[in-house]
Each structure stands twice: as structure tokens, then as C-alpha cells.
Point group: C2
Chain length 182, copies 2
């Protein structure tokens, strides 16, 4: 920790307790001794899965995202349940959303999508050896499963057709790992 940059909590207040969003407003002491407000969301974390079919193509989903009022093309992902192991989250979400199970799981890394106003982390996995066993979507979850070859997905990124940050990071990451033959 760089002490010259650190902020100390003076007071913390929960300002919204929603079903999904837990919003806090804290008073902090800045490095120069003055005080400031920090507003942020507490999030349980999530897992995103780069799932590679035997023909080399990747599983994708089309899902409507209300905050942006449109359908996004994104990798399978979902929130970590309380106390859940992140590998179990990956297996559960892949099964629930796409109907696939994977024989081989490789941990890739972690990203923080919104460091300015959320404590969310997203853990990334590569899943291979896929077998279709049937989907079991949550109630209220509507999505379409599709697949794209990795190069096609990277072209869709560079063309602006894929803009979801977790999907961008996981795709670029998987491309580097696969290029190295891991």
C-alpha cells in the first residue's frame, strides 16, 4: 500500500438497500487531511467463462441489458452466490445459461470492472471438453445461446459489435493463453 495515496474511512452509511444494489456513502480522510465523500456499490463478485466447443468456437449469449436498453453479445457469466467457490459459480452459470458442462477448467485471472464506484471483481475461466446436458434458466432470465469462432469474435470486438468489458477482457486474455498453447 502506498501510504501517500491512501484514504481512511471516517464514517460509512448505507444509502440504498436494493434487491441487487447495495449503495454506500462513506466519509473519508484524504492524504492531505481534508475530508471527502465516496459513493459506491457493494457487489458479491461474478465469474465469466470462455467456453470452447470441440470445433474451436466459443459459446456466447445474446441478452437484453436494461441499463443500456439493448441486447448485448456476451460470454456466459453470473454472480457468485454467498459462500460459493468461484469454480462452482462458473460451472453453475455455464450449465444454467447454456446447458453445457465442461470436463476441463483453467483459471485465467481476475478483473475489476468499475473501480471508481463498485467493489465488483470478475473471475475468468477457460472451459473445454464441453458436453450439452440441457439448460435450466432462472425464472426472469431470457437469453439466446450462440457460438462464434475466436477470430470472428475478435473481429466483432474490433468492429464494435462486442462492447461488454468482461467479454472483451476474457476474449483478449484467452487469445493470449491459447496462442501460447497452454
Amino acid at each position: 500500500m502506498n501510504q501517500a495515496l491512501q484514504e481512511q474511512t471516517v464514517a460509512s452509511e448505507q444509502v440504498f438497500d436494493g434487491k441487487l444494489l447495495k449503495v454506500f456513502r462513506d466519509t473519508v480522510r484524504l492524504p492531505d487531511g481534508s475530508e471527502a465523500l465516496r459513493e459506491y456499490v457493494r457487489h458479491p463478485g461474478a465469474v465469466v467463462v470462455v467456453a470452447i466447443l470441440d470445433d474451436g468456437s466459443l459459446l456466447f449469449e445474446r441478452q437484453f441489458r436494461y441499463p443500456l436498453n439493448r441486447v448485448f453479445l456476451e460470454l456466459p457469466a453470473g454472480k457468485i452466490d454467498p459462500g460459493e467457490n468461484i469454480l462452482d459459480t462458473g460451472k453453475r452459470e455455464l450449465r444454467e445459461e447454456t446447458g453445457y458442462q465442461a470436463a476441463e477448467w483453467t483459471y485465467l485471472g481476475v478483473m475489476h470492472p468499475c473501480i471508481g464506484y463498485s467493489d465488483e471483481r470478475i473471475e475468468m475461466f477457460l472451459a473445454r471438453g464441453l458436453a450439452h446436458v440441457g439448460a435450466a434458466l432462472d425464472q426472469e432470465e431470457f437469453l439466446e445461446v450462440t457460438s462464434l469462432p475466436l477470430e470472428g469474435a475478435l473481429s466483432a470486438v474490433m468492429n464494435g459489435q462486442i462492447t461488454d468489458a468482461k467479454t472483451l477482457v476474457a476474449l483478449f486474455w484467452a487469445e493470449r493463453v491459447l496462442r501460447q498453447g497452454r
Copy 2:
């Protein structure tokens, strides 16, 4: 728009009006006709800059991020002011945070960091032809400016030392663009 996935707004309510965060809870009609709640943050959008010094290294910042209680290594970035052109945001933030001006600006693309609960978009630019003219940090803004070669930055990504999603996406994107000699 895929009609089979779309959600329709039934009612919208602002549940928190903070200095930074504007939080909403909307009631929506799902594709099957049932209703659900959607909680989300409205954000003005942001710009991130991959700024390349004449020796080929990139400008980075170390900044304390309160929601995660630690210092992050990240690219220069900042929120779009009301009515501000995104290129002007990039120029302003680069100048304010690092003290550099750039002669050449290239638009890279856009990402959406938190599609589940925020409408934030982050626009990406490449900045070259840098000249140091002196920084003018906002009050309450504490950060350290540093630089890293692109390959060193990509190694720091794969080692888990850089986990900020906007920085990951912009670095991977810039690497692809620079590899193609654009």
C-alpha cells in the same frame, strides 16, 4: 433489436441522488408478460487514454480506489463533463492528471464496463506526440504518474498486477492496433 428479449419500462423511480451516483429502480415488463425490478446507476460516461511517449512507453497512474481499498495501476481516464466532446475529455484528463499534451489522437472504440447495473460507457483513445506542459490536478485528486513499456504492461496484466478492466481492454486493443501498424 431482438423483440423476443426486450424489456419494457413500466415505471421508473430515482432511489438515490448522490454527488457521483444516480441510482434508479425501474419496474419492467419481461418478454413473457410478467414484471420485474431493475436497479441501476446512471453515469455520464468516461474516456480512457493510451498515451505513448516518444520512447514507446505508456503513461500510467497509481491511484487509490476507495471501493476496493487499494491502489490501482491504471491508464489516465476521467468522466465526460456535461455537453463535452469526448476528444476534449481525453485531452483535458490527460493534461489534468499527467501534465501531458498530445499532438496526435486516434479513436480506438468504446466499451461498457458494467452492463448489469450501469449505463456507463468508456471511450478509448490512443495519444501520440506527447509534450510535458505541467499537471493541474483537481482538488481531492491524489495520484502518481509513472510509465511502462507496452510489453511490460501486458506482462503486468498476465501477472495480475493490473486488474482494472478499462486499462486491460485499452491495452489489449492498443496492442492489436499497434501490431497492425496503424
